[in-house]
């Protein structure tokens, strides 16, 4: 049992990060704090992929002819890293759109607090 926990310690950190991110997104009222939670959540998944690529005793995946024969166990798996480059770009783009939305919301309602925002929106409903 202990081996299972220690052997997968990287993943436990990833899942703790994920939980922190989800907590930030659901519980925090401030929209920017929600976005911080969202970023933590996305980064935890990126770390998850990167951790899965690791091999003990292996090196960076650049072909080294001086090492002799090409042995895949001597190189870590490069594919998750390349996938995560795309995922990082997606994350940055999402964050950009989200921040643009936050600015628009602030300009229209002068608040970023979700409960106050809902009050304002309800007032708009009544005045319409």
């Amino acid at each position: 049992m202990l081996d299972f926990f220690i052997g997968h310690y990287a993943y436990w950190f990833v899942f703790i990060l994920m939980a922190i991110g989800l907590y930030g997104m659901t519980v925090k009222c401030n929209l920017v704090k929600k976005l911080i939670g969202m970023t933590i959540f996305q980064v935890s998944i990126i770390l998850f992929f990167v951790a899965s690529a690791n091999k003990w005793g292996a090196t960076v995946p650049v072909l080294d002819h001086s090492a002799g024969s090409i042995d895949p166990t001597k190189y870590i798996n490069p594919l998750p890293h390349t996938l995560m480059l795309t995922a990082i770009v997606v994350g940055v783009a999402t964050l950009g759109v989200a921040l643009a939305l936050v600015i628009t919301i602030y300009n229209r309602y002068q608040t970023l607090d979700e409960t106050r925002l809902l009050e304002h929106m309800r007032k708009d409903d009544d005045s319409e």
């Binding site: 795309t86 989200a98 939305l101 628009t104 708009d124």
Partner: protein, 496 residues
């Protein structure tokens, strides 16, 4: 040359339009719409060609850059993906024709970037449907979602808040899906769907793969807006501009549905799902709850777009129920309902757009019989759409419900059958309420009947797509046997 590359052409032409529009139309704004329309028409044409090719030649694999899967990324055209791309492209072409006037009225200064974003969204949808690679699907999913957030946020004053909520939910959905992809890659060492479909059935005792299936379905379920994950949908559809809701409601959620069908039945396979998780049962129950819940809330709405949004929750429930039944009738019903709901919802949202342009509102209690006198064709299209939603033969809506009902009977799930029947009654309540207003309700007070000259039929560019959709609802209903036997029976997944 063109024919051999036809699987890649639909998303490519749309992506090209998304890039060309900001460059060419920066100075000449009027060019944005024709470019978008051409790209969409071209994509629709290519989808027709693809469907014909698939039906005559069988499944087509398209390898990008000549890399052979599982190393390279491939596009796969099988009857399901060819059929759904055609539905998505054809419906969005019609909505785009309609959108010209409503975008000019609602977003006068922002029409150029708006069309570019629409093209980006359609690129994402086409990519999701055609790709045969899990990670590629994620990228297209996020491309389309980013475009959707933008399209929702340009609506009325409240729309950025709705878009922000959708963004948070959508990102969680996308991230869950990505996490599922990670588990799949760790257990099978592959990202290619066909490759995983070969490996997965032997690994149903692997908890990581079962977790992957669960995560992917939850993630895609948020994008599809299946019942408890539908929170973003009503606000987003209501506050978005008319053109956006008419584009997103019919095709947006359907793409999530498609991805779930693909993942559950084609990649993991029926046997894997039966042996690992009670996933299909959960989907069926959630679908049944969504049907009743969405219909009841739709009755309570005063705003037509909001009513249609809640009715979308219910209609997605039908599709979820069909998937969850996991028998051939259920799948036929679900796939047929993907097409039917795309047509019906597009038709009804276009009617709401016509009302908004001509009456300045789409609030149900304010409608009266002048609407029918002045906008007879729009009202007729609404009536056909409403009858189809209720499921009156010979409209298309009847037939998908019929197949779903056969599916519930085959599985002996009488409660689900009851949900289907009750929801038809509820649909009748909330649509006939509107029909009663536009056909029966007399004027309030003694306003002269012809006093309002602004109230006239919608312009041709808006009326024709609405009518085409209305007629399609009737014609496809009459000839639904051709579609079901010719295309959809070939979709029924292996092992069912």
């Amino acid at each position: 040359m063109i024919l051999s590359n036809s699987p890649a052409l639909a998303p490519l032409s749309l992506l090209l339009a998304a890039i060309v529009i900001p460059m060419v139309a920066f100075r000449r704004r009027w060019l944005a719409f024709p470019i978008a329309l051409c790209a969409s028409a071209f994509a629709t044409g290519i989808s027709v060609v693809n469907l014909v090719r698939v039906l005559s030649e069988g499944v087509i694999h398209y390898h990008f850059g000549g890399w052979i899967p599982p190393i390279g990324i491939e596009y796969v055209l099988d009857p399901l993906s060819a059929f759904v791309t055609l539905v998505v492209n054809a419906v969005s072409l019609l909505v785009l024709v309609h959108a010209h006037r409503s975008v000019a009225a609602e977003l006068p200064d922002r029409s150029m970037p708006y069309y570019a974003v629409v093209m980006l969204m359609l690129t994402g949808f086409n990519g999701i449907i055609l790709t045969g690679d899990f990670f590629n699907l994620y990228v297209f999913l996020e491309i389309s979602s980013l475009a959707l957030y933008g399209m929702i946020a340009v609506g009325n004053k409240k729309s950025p808040v709705a878009a922000f909520r959708y963004l948070i939910m959508g990102t969680v959905g996308g991230s869950f899906y990505l996490l599922g992809v990670g588990f799949v890659y760790m257990t099978t060492g592959s990202l290619n769907m066909a490759d995983i479909a070969k490996i997965a059935p032997t690994l149903y005792h692997q908890p990581a793969l079962v977790a992957a299936l669960g995560l992917m379905v939850v993630g895609l379920g948020i994008k599809m807006a299946i019942f408890p994950l539908h929170g973003w949908l009503p606000d987003a559809y209501t506050y978005a501009p008319s053109a956006s809701s008419a584009l997103i409601a019919p095709v947006g959620a359907k793409v999530g549905v498609y991805a779930i069908i693909r993942v559950i039945f084609y990649v993991f396979g029926v046997d894997f799902v039966r042996h690992s998780l009670p996933l299909t049962d959960i989907l069926a129950w959630l679908g049944a709850i969504a049907i009743v819940y969405g219909s009841v809330l739709a009755i309570a709405q005063k705003e037509m777009k909001r009513m249609l949004a809640y009715s979308s929750v219910a209609q997605i429930g039908y599709i979820g129920l069909g998937i969850g039944l996991a028998n051939p009738y259920g799948i036929i019903g679900a796939v047929l309902h993907v097409m039917n709901h795309a047509l019906m919802k597009a038709c009804l949202f276009l009617v709401a757009g016509n009302f908004r342009l001509k009456l300045g509102h789409s609030t149900i209690p304010r409608l009266d019989h002048r609407v029918r006198k002045r906008m007879p064709w729009t009202t007729a299209a609404f009536t056909v759409g409403a009858l189809s939603m209720v499921g009156v033969p010979p409209t298309v809506g009847f037939f998908s419900k019929w197949y779903l009902a056969l599916g519930t009977i085959q599985n002996g799930r009488w409660l689900f059958l009851a949900a289907l029947l009750v929801s038809s009654l509820l649909n009748a309540v909330y649509f006939f309420r509107v029909l009663e207003k536009v056909y029966m309700k007399p004027l309030e007070g003694d306003v002269p009947d012809d006093g309002d000259t602004a109230l006239a039929e919608a312009p041709g560019s808006m009326l024709i797509p609405t009518l085409v959709l209305g007629i399609a609802l009737l014609l496809l209903g009459l000839f639904n046997a051709v579609i079901v036997t010719g295309i959809i029976t070939r979709i029924v997944p292996p092992g069912m």
